[in-house]
C-alpha cells in the first residue's frame, strides 16, 4: 500500500481538499519518515518539527474554511539552507554562517508561507552552493538514498535526497551551474532550473549573481509545475527579476507532444560520459520520437568552452559576493587579535572551507590587474557565443534533449581532484550561462542507480519543458520507483 509520504503533491492536495486526510497527519507521516531514515541519509541541517506541526494545524484550519487555498497548502516541503528563513538558522553549509538567523524571509519564503506550506526542515548543501556532491558541506556529507555509499550530487544534494527518500513531498534548491538538475538526476527526482529572472533572488544568499536561480525538486513534472507556479514572478526587491508574464504551468500538461520539435545537441555526447548514460538517454529520446515528436540533431558549437567560461565567471562573481564575510556584521568572527586586517584574514581562513577558498582565489586571480582581459573579459565574450548557440537552436526547436550528468551517482570520496568534480556540470552549465530554463527528469537506471534526462527550453519556456516532461512520465515509470532504505 502507498504510504502517505509516497504521494505526489497533486494527489495529496486532492485528499486534503476532500478532507480525507489532514495536513497534521500528512506532516506527521513525513516527520516519522525523517526520524526513520535521516540517520542514514543526512539530508537536513535542521529539522523544524514544531514549526511544521504548527503550520500544519494552520493549514488544516484554512482547508476547513476552504478559503484562499493554494495547491501547496498543508504540503510538507524542505528548503535548501541557502534560502533565508526569518529567525531560523540559515547556514549555507558553512561554519561562517553556522549560527546566522536572517532578520527577514526571502521573497520565495514569503510566497511559500502565504501559500500555507509546511516547512519540515532546511537541507544540506555544498558550502555556499559550491560543489557537485554535498561533500563540501562544513557539517557532513549527504548520502544518496539509492546507495548510501554514494553522493546525492550537489550542491542541492540535501533537497534532492529529501524528496527521493520521502522526507518531504517537494523541496527547493538553487542552481548556478547545475546544482538542481545534477542532484535531481543522481537521486531520481525532477529538478527544474527556471529561466534567469523568473524567480526572485531576494533572500537567496548570493554565490554568482548573474547565474543563480531558485527552483523546485519534485516527484513528477506536475508537482514541479505546482512548486514553480507559487514562486515565479516579478519582485521589486530583485531588479533582475523579470516582468515577463508568468505562464500557467499546468495548463498544457495534456500528454501530447505530437509535432513538437526536439533538438539533440551533437556536442553533448562527449568522451567521459558513461556508456549506460548514453544508452539510456538515447532510448529516452527515441521514446519522445515514438510519441510523435520530430527529433533532429542540432549543433551548439561553443559547448566545449562552457565549463571553462563558467569557472571564470562564477568564481569571479563569488569572490566579490563573498567579500561581505569579514567578521564584522554577522557570521563567524576571529576575535583573538587587535589588528583589523589579521582579524579579517583569519575570519575568512577559519570560516570558509577549502572549495570556497579555492573559488575565491580563482575569481580574485581572474579579476586581478593583468589578467582581467585574458580571463574575465574573454569568458564573458565566450558566454555571448554560448548564448547565441542557444538562440539559433531555439529558432528551430522547442526543446533540446541531453543527459543531465555524464555519470550516475559516484562514491563519496571518489572524486578528489577539483577539476574532475567541475566536469560533473558539463551538460548543465551552458543553460546557466545563457540564462535559459532546464529540467532533469528520471530517465533510466544502471545497476540500480538513477540516470537523469535533461530537457532545455528557451527563456520563459518552462511550460514547454514541463509539458514534454509530463508527457514522458505518462509513458515511463522511472519516476515512480522508490529506493530501498
Amino acid at each position: 500500500m502507498t504510504e502517505l509520504y509516497q504521494l505526489t503533491i497533486h494527489e495529496a492536495g486532492k485528499l486534503l481538499r476532500q478532507r480525507k486526510i489532514s495536513s497534521v497527519e500528512l506532516t506527521q507521516a513525513h516527520l516519522d519518515r525523517i526520524r526513520a531514515v535521516e540517520d542514514k541519509v543526512k539530508a537536513l541541517t535542521l529539522i523544524t518539527d514544531d514549526l511544521a506541526l504548527q503550520q500544519a494545524r494552520e493549514a488544516d484550519k484554512r482547508l476547513a474554511r476552504n478559503e484562499n487555498l493554494s495547491p501547496l497548502t498543508g504540503i510538507p516541503i524542505a528548503i535548501k539552507d541557502v534560502i533565508c528563513t526569518k529567525d531560523i538558522t540559515t547556514t549555507c553549509g558553512s561554519r561562517m554562517l553556522e549560527n546566522f538567523k536572517p532578520p527577514f524571509d526571502a521573497t520565495v519564503m514569503q510566497k511559500l508561507n502565504a501559500a500555507g506550506i509546511v516547512m519540515v526542515g532546511k537541507t544540506n548543501m555544498d558550502e555556499f552552493a559550491m560543489g557537485s556532491s554535498t561533500e563540501h558541506s562544513a557539517f557532513f556529507p549527504t548520502h544518496n538514498p539509492w546507495d548510501l555509499e554514494r553522493t546525492p550530487g550537489g550542491s542541492s544534494g540535501g533537497s534532492a535526497a529529501a524528496v527521493a527518500a520521502g522526507m518531504a513531498m517537494g523541496a527547493y534548491g538553487s542552481d548556478t551551474g547545475g546544482s538542481i538538475r545534477q542532484p535531481g538526476a543522481l537521486c531520481n527526482v525532477v529538478g527544474l532550473k527556471p529561466t534567469y529572472g523568473r524567480v526572485s533572488r531576494f533572500g537567496l544568499v548570493a554565490f554568482a549573481s548573474s547565474l543563480d536561480q531558485i527552483g523546485p525538486f519534485a516527484r513528477d513534472a506536475r508537482d514541479a509545475a505546482l512548486l514553480l507556479q507559487v514562486i515565479a514572478g516579478h519582485d521589486p526587491c530583485d531588479a533582475t527579476s523579470s516582468p515577463h508574464p508568468v505562464a500557467d504551468y499546468t495548463a498544457n500538461l495534456n500528454g501530447s507532444i505530437k509535432g513538437l520539435r526536439i533538438g539533440v545537441p551533437e556536442e553533448y555526447w562527449v568522451e567521459g560520459t558513461q556508456p549506460e548514460v548514453v544508452a539510456a538517454v538515447q532510448a529516452d529520446i527515441e521514446k519522445l520520437h515514438e510519441m510523435g515528436a520530430i527529433v533532429e540533431p542540432v549543433s551548439l558549437p561553443h559547448t566545449k568552452y562552457g565549463v571553462a567560461a563558467y569557472y571564470i565567471v562564477a568564481p569571479a562573481e563569488a569572490s566579490a559576493n563573498l567579500a561581505r564575510y569579514d567578521g564584522v556584521k554577522y557570521g563567524y568572527s576571529y576575535r583573538d587579535t587587535n589588528d583589523m586586517w589579521e582579524a579579517m584574514e583569519k575570519t575568512r581562513q577559519y570560516g570558509f572551507g577549502a572549495e570556497v577558498k579555492r573559488r575565491i582565489m580563482l575569481g580574485t586571480y581572474a579579476l586581478s590587474a593583468g589578467y582581467y582581459d585574458a580571463y574575465y573579459k574573454r569568458a564573458e565574450k565566450v558566454r555571448t557565443l554560448i548564448r547565441q548557440d542557444f538562440e539559433r537552436a531555439f529558432e528551430r526547436f522547442d526543446v533540446l534533449a541531453s543527459p543531465a550528468s555524464p555519470t550516475v551517482a559516484f562514491k563519496l570520496g571518489e572524486i578528489s581532484d577539483p577539476y574532475q568534480m567541475y566536469l560533473q556540470d558539463v551538460f548543465t552549465i551552458p543553460a546557466n550561462l545563457a540564462g535559459i530554463c532546464g529540467i532533469s527528469i528520471p530517465g533510466g537506471f544502471s545497476n540500480g542507480l538513477p540516470i537523469g534526462f535533461q530537457l532545455l527550453g528557451n527563456a520563459f519556456a518552462e511550460d514547454m519543458i514541463l509539458r514534454v516532461a509530463d508527457a514522458f512520465q505518462r509513458v515511463t515509470d522511472y519516476h515512480t520507483r522508490w529506493p530501498q532504505l
Binding site: 532578520p103 568552452y305 567578521g327 554577522y330 587587535n338 586586517w341 581562513q349 564573458e380
Partner: protein
C-alpha cells in the same frame, strides 16, 4: 602555471588567510584548473561583445518611495560585537 608568490599575492587581495599547506595545495590545484581553462584562448571572440548577465533587461527603474526599515536591534542581532547600536571593530587607523 602560477607560482607561490602569485598565490600569496592573490590571497592578500582577497583578504584570505592561508596556511603554508593551503598555499602549496592551491598552487598546484589552481595551476591545473587554469591549464584547463586555457581552452578559452582558442575561441574566436573577435567582434563579440561580452555578456555580463542573462536577465534580458536594462536600466530597471523604480519609484523612490520610503518604506519602513528594520530597527537597529534586529539588524544587529547577528553582529559579533556591538556597542550602543553600532558595530564594534578593531581600530582602523594605526599609530594612535
Amino acid at each position: 602555471m602560477i607560482d607561490r608568490e602569485t598565490v600569496i599575492h592573490v590571497a592578500k587581495l582577497a583578504r584570505l588567510g592561508l596556511s603554508e599547506e593551503d598555499i602549496n595545495i592551491f598552487q598546484g590545484q589552481l595551476s591545473v584548473i587554469l591549464q584547463n581553462i586555457a581552452i578559452l584562448q582558442e575561441a574566436d571572440v573577435s567582434g563579440v561583445s561580452p555578456t555580463a548577465h542573462a536577465s534580458r533587461l536594462t536600466n530597471i527603474m523604480r519609484t523612490d518611495t520610503p518604506r519602513p526599515s528594520y530597527p537597529p536591534e534586529v539588524l544587529l542581532a547577528n553582529a559579533p560585537d556591538q556597542e550602543d547600536n553600532y558595530l564594534k571593530v578593531n581600530a582602523v587607523l594605526e599609530g594612535e
